[in-house]
Amino acid sequence: MKMLMILFISLVLFFANAPSYGASLYEGKTITIIVGYKPGGGYDRYARLIGKHLPKYIPGKPGVIIQNMPGASSVIAANHVFSIAKPDGLTIGTFNNATVIAQLIKVEGVRFDLTKFAWLGSAASDAVILSVRSDLPYRTADDLRKAKQFVIGTTGPGSSTHDFPAILGEFGGFDFKLVPGYSSSADVMLALERKEVDGRAGSYDSIKPFIDRGLVRPVIRNRTSAPGIEKLPVDENLATTQQGKLIMAVNAVPTQIYRPYVAPPATAKDALKILRDAFANVLKDKDLLAEAEKGKMTIDYVPPDDALKVVAEVLGQPPDVVKVLAKHIKFGE
């Protein structure tokens, strides 16, 4: 009898201890994070890191699985989360930050509206920089202005390696010669090493190891800053026309929501609240931060409202501006 008593009390205590709010919502369920790329890339690594720690912050401790849905630079995944995934709080999507550009310039095949997603926010921001081979005499933007036919290797239009220097050259008074066609940004790095090209633009995160190694030095950045490059000149301040400045500002938007996370439109309110809180909290998680640090992944939480605001601002541009933008900013890998 005494044994039964103890058992009873411990059972009561056990259930009383479990959080009641929302527990039933996610108890025994599985959340799917849809990634717009194949396994192994940056988007995938962020999703796996977040997915690993997310259950801790959701009452009921649901399982989390990662589903890779590559293709069309994430447009397939974004379309899926927008119109096929159920808004029951069990699907999260993360895809190419430049999908906002795709929607803006009306890329064929886009069937989503980014302003209608239920945003969780962004897990990071990342500066785009232009870096120059260290053995060249160009240290500042002014030095670079004097250079003739400065060769920049790129992976092609639609990537920050290409669009950033293309716009900078056109509206900043630089004489850049762009060489697109490298199959990855790593290939451009190798071309730098064998002096086939003089400079490379792109994500600060990915260039940083080569700056540390002394192969290149950063010279110009976009409006998104990062520790260590705060003092670099910002491209918008180098623009010679007002129009150029605007184009640069719009082109910088994807870098502010570098790792966007959304739920399907009209996701159930209670579920969305849980997901939003969990997303905000998981990015402060000590273990997650330690692992991110090890993997050289920047974590920099952007709240959902801020992310949505940036997106809405870009998408609200008048049609004549969009026309000009579409000429200079492309969408691709």
Partner: protein, 503 residues
């Protein structure tokens, strides 16, 4: 240098490192066997597990897995005609033909032994190359890479079969392959080519559905039509006993095995050429080793050399592809890109330091590849005889399984219905080609080299203008491609030289 070389070996044999390697081998074994479940994807999925490991353990685990994938991938290619990995498709041509003749055991033995030789040569080439790695890799710019692709394309003349008519067909198939490589968003202007409004086609056709379609589907149809087992109604004595014959074959044709291993290593070293290329170049070399017309005609119908060449090259290239990754921090293939992520996770900065400060670690990676392959091959040799018996199972029983794995394999490349449509379309094409007597190898060669050739041609021209054609290495490679192209005609005098203009 020598100390580090030996220390690297001892490090691999520390019990915890060794255990990690065994675990990696076990995983890699299955990943290689199962078509579709590719080495690259598995590497990506395994990354989170290395957080708690030391660098040596982590690389023993990852490389142990990675380096046996091509070895066991050959087994699937030979037994069922499905490429177990994207890098083991060339083994099918003669390997599966041998299985159909009831010589599965011999083909398996040869594939495994040549894989081992290839892995050893690749690893030691890597070790020897360490002092000269940087200048070697840096001397190959975009123009040279373009010319390497052209040398590869020139091998079409060897992969086409004999006679003017066969050559013409080979060239046309190669051009068709180049055309398929154009599908998707082009990297120069961002234009969508041949995508027909399909989002799926933006990133181009994936290698796996194309390969599985072209090679596996026709075999499945053939098996269904014949209504027998893979080995047919042939006498069975050779089946199991052949393993040792195959092992010996590797040493009978040792020169070829070594040459193909070296070619594989070299292609691995060149960043951007990728693993799909090495096997075909090796197969082309194997065909060129034929001394008479009769010998040459035997290729594609089960010549052991057609197994040895690709078997060796797809393993030796792994040693080579580590080089740009560790020496420059620039990955040579997609699996190496993931490995680079592992370097960061472990707090190591790949680059010149790896050839200096971390030399022991670098050598431990070399040794891991060597030891992992030895273990795999020795273990596999014990039950190859049983595996060979799979070719005696009735086709009607086997077909559902092969079909299942073919479809799953294709589907895993993008998790998209489009993968299956591509598989079926290319399966149909492959079947048609066989029925009409067109060679499939040039098609695949054109497909894997198309992008590489196009991108590097574009970069060369825009960067250097026409002057790149006069760079010394480019001239050497032009000469080499001419030799490769006309080699078949120089060897067999008395054959008409019809349709010789490949480029």
């Amino acid at each position: 240098m020598l100390n580090a070389f030996i220390d690297g070996l001892f490090v691999v044999f520390q019990w915890n490192t060794f255990l990690m390697m065994l675990l990696g081998i076990f995983l890699g074994f299955w990943v290689g066997l199962l078509p579709g479940l590719g080495g690259t994807t598995t590497l990506a999925l395994m990354l989170p597990f290395i957080y708690q490991m030391t660098p040596v353990e982590a690389f023993a685990f990852l490389l142990g897995m990675h380096s046996v994938v091509s070895t066991t991938g050959d087994i699937t290619s030979i037994l069922f005609g499905i490429p177990g990995e994207g890098t083991t498709a060339a083994t099918i041509l003669d390997g599966h033909a041998m299985a159909k003749k009831g010589e599965a055991g011999r083909a398996l033995g040869a594939a495994l032994m040549s894989s081992l030789v290839g892995a050893l040569i690749g690893a030691f080439a890597l070790a020897l190359a360490i002092p000269v790695v940087r200048p070697l890799v840096l001397s190959f710019g975009a123009p040279e890479l373009f010319m390497l692709a052209i040398v590869g394309i020139a091998f079409i003349s060897s992969l086409s079969g004999q006679g003017g008519r066969a050559l013409l067909r080979g060239i046309l198939a190669g051009l068709l392959g180049l055309l398929f490589a154009l599908v998707g968003q082009d990297p120069q202007a961002g234009v969508l080519r041949f995508t027909f409004g399909q989002l799926y086609l933006w990133s181009g056709l994936d290698l796996i559905p194309v390969l599985v379609g072209v090679f596996a589907i026709p075999e499945i149809i053939d098996l269904a039509v014949r209504g027998t087992s893979i080995a047919g109604e042939l006498p069975r004595e050779n089946l199991g006993r052949g393993v040792w014959v195959g092992v010996k074959d590797t040493f009978v044709h040792f020169g070829l095995t070594v040459r193909c291993s070296l070619a594989g290593t070299f292609i691995g070293i060149m960043p951007g050429l990728g693993g799909g290329v090495a096997q075909w170049i090796a197969y082309g070399q194997a065909v060129q080793s034929a001394r008479t017309n009769e010998e040459r005609a035997g290729f594609g119908k089960g010549d052991i050399r057609g197994v040895l060449g690709p078997g060796a090259a797809n393993n030796s290239k792994e040693g080579g592809s580590l080089i740009p990754t560790i020496a420059f921090g620039v990955p040579g293939s997609s699996s190496m890109a993931i490995l680079l992520g592992a370097f960061f996770l472990l707090g190591i900065m790949p680059g010149p330091d790896m050839l200096d400060k971390h030399l022991v670690l670098t050598f431990s990676m070399v040794w891991t590849m060597v030891v992992a392959n030895i273990i795999t091959v020795v273990i596999s040799l014990f039950f190859l005889n049983y595996l060979a018996k799979l070719t005696l199972i009735r086709g009607t029983v086997l077909i559902p399984f092969i079909l299942f794995f073919s479809f799953i394999g294709a589907y895993t490349s993008n998790n998209h219905l489009g993968d299956l449509l591509v598989l079926v379309a290319f399966g149909f094409l492959g079947y048609l080609m066989i029925r009409c007597g067109w060679p499939r190898a040039p098609l695949v060669l054109g497909f894997v080299l198309g992008r590489i050739a196009e991108n590097n041609f574009y970069i060369s021209t825009i960067r250097y203008g026409p002057s790149w054609t006069l760079r010394p290495l480019v001239l050497v490679l032009i000469a080499l491609s001419v030799i490769v192209l006309f080699f078949p005609f120089m060897r067999f005098k008395g054959r008409p030289l019809a349709g010789g203009n490949v480029q």
